[in-house]
């Protein structure tokens, strides 16, 4: 009979080719999935590769696939996701696996850059501080998407990314939408051209996997819909 004070944690070992290896991990109160992975590395498998930094849901480093679902592991309590007394922990989908639970995030962050996800100041420095009314439509739209921590959970959850690896994905497009709504930014024309097209906002099928899985409860699908409208307006005005 299995020990009720332990859980079986099945962890991916290897790169693209590999296998799941099970470990019995002591069960503790308020234990997170990241805690179990850390316990395995410290007590059973010193060579286990995984990634984390802040452990409090700020840095976006520790996302993994837990029982088939992409999650931030540092804020996911074991008792919330336990299935048949165990866990299966795999690397994130839609990114190449470096080793074990660590994926190569290069493509994910490159997409942020391709979507012009960096703030672009105007050529002439403004004479004074920009006044942005918190209740303005633009500011509220930017606020709705601004808390992204870049964890790539949405990118892993998105079937369109799986079908079309060039697709910019929910996080990069959400980031672009926050900047389209930043009245200080001067790069919107270029940004709208960068996010339009069949690898950009027009590829989104509104399946909302990103919305369902975003640990920050953001709505990248709504951001992408906003981009579609903004891009259409630019095209009609001949500015695209």
């Amino acid at each position: 009979m299995p020990d009720p004070r332990t859980i079986s944690v099945s962890v991916w070992r290897g790169a693209a080719a590999g296998r799941f290896v099970s470990y019995d991990v002591p069960l503790n109160a308020n234990q997170t999935v990241l805690d179990t992975v850390t316990w395995i590395q410290r007590h059973r498998e010193p060579g286990l590769a995984y990634r984390f930094a802040c452990r409090v849901g700020m840095c976006g480093s520790c996302a993994m696939t837990v029982n088939g679902t992409p999650r931030w592991t540092c804020r996911t309590h074991v008792n919330r996701v336990l299935r048949d007394g165990g866990l299966q922990v795999a690397p994130l989908r839609n990114l190449p696996v470096i080793r074990d639970l660590a994926v190569d995030m290069t493509a994910f962050f490159d997409k942020m850059a391709r979507a012009r996800g960096a703030f672009r100041p105007a050529a002439d420095p403004p004479a004074d501080f920009a006044v942005v009314a918190p209740a303005s439509r633009e500011r509220r739209a930017a606020d709705a998407g601004i808390e992204c921590i870049g964890c790539a959970v949405c990118h892993a959850a998105c079937d369109v990314v799986a079908w079309n690896p060039d697709y910019l994905g929910p996080a990069a497009l959400n980031r672009a939408w926050t900047l389209v709504n930043d009245v200080r930014d001067a790069g919107t024309a270029e940004r709208l051209a960068a996010v339009a097209g069949d690898a950009g906002c027009h590829a989104c099928h509104v399946q909302q996997g990103c919305v369902q899985h975003c640990p920050k409860h953001l709505n990248p699908t709504a951001s992408i819909a906003g981009l579609k409208r903004a891009v259409a307006r630019a095209a009609i005005k001949g500015e695209l």
């Binding site: 079309n164 097209g197 069949d198 950009g200 027009h202 590829a203 579609k228």
Partner: protein, 115 residues
């Protein structure tokens, strides 16, 4: 395809969806009203034959369907089949031409009547 072209195709798909929403309501309403007395070919031709208003309505309906459906099919083909983007675009263009030709032929045949 360029970002601008993709954007215009998206606008075309949304605009044709708007037309289809109205056209389908009119079409279904007509079907429901028409079948109350039993549906016969004679009744359909009597209603449509020689009526320019119905001809224009059905030609617009056909054009909207010929724009809307192939654009959706194009995305499905590109993502789910080995046709690729170019192959999917060509297959969808053929589908669009076929829908337009067959639909227009049907609308015109009903307008011109059984003669």
């Amino acid at each position: 395809m360029s970002a601008r072209a993709e954007t215009w195709l998206w606008i075309a798909q949304r605009a044709s969806a708007g037309v289809l929403a109205l056209a389908v309501v009119v079409h279904l309403g007509t079907v429901i009203a028409a079948v109350r007395g039993g549906l016969t070919a004679a009744e359909i031709t009597a209603r449509l034959s020689g009526h320019t208003g119905w001809l224009v309505f059905y030609l617009v309906f056909v054009a909207a369907a010929a724009v809307h459906a192939p654009l959706g099919i194009r995305a499905v083909l590109a993502e789910w089949t080995p046709l690729g983007r170019r192959g999917s675009a060509i297959a969808s263009a053929i589908l669009a031409a076929a829908l337009l030709a067959l639909g227009a032929r049907a609308a015109l045949a009903l307008y011109l009547g059984p003669h």
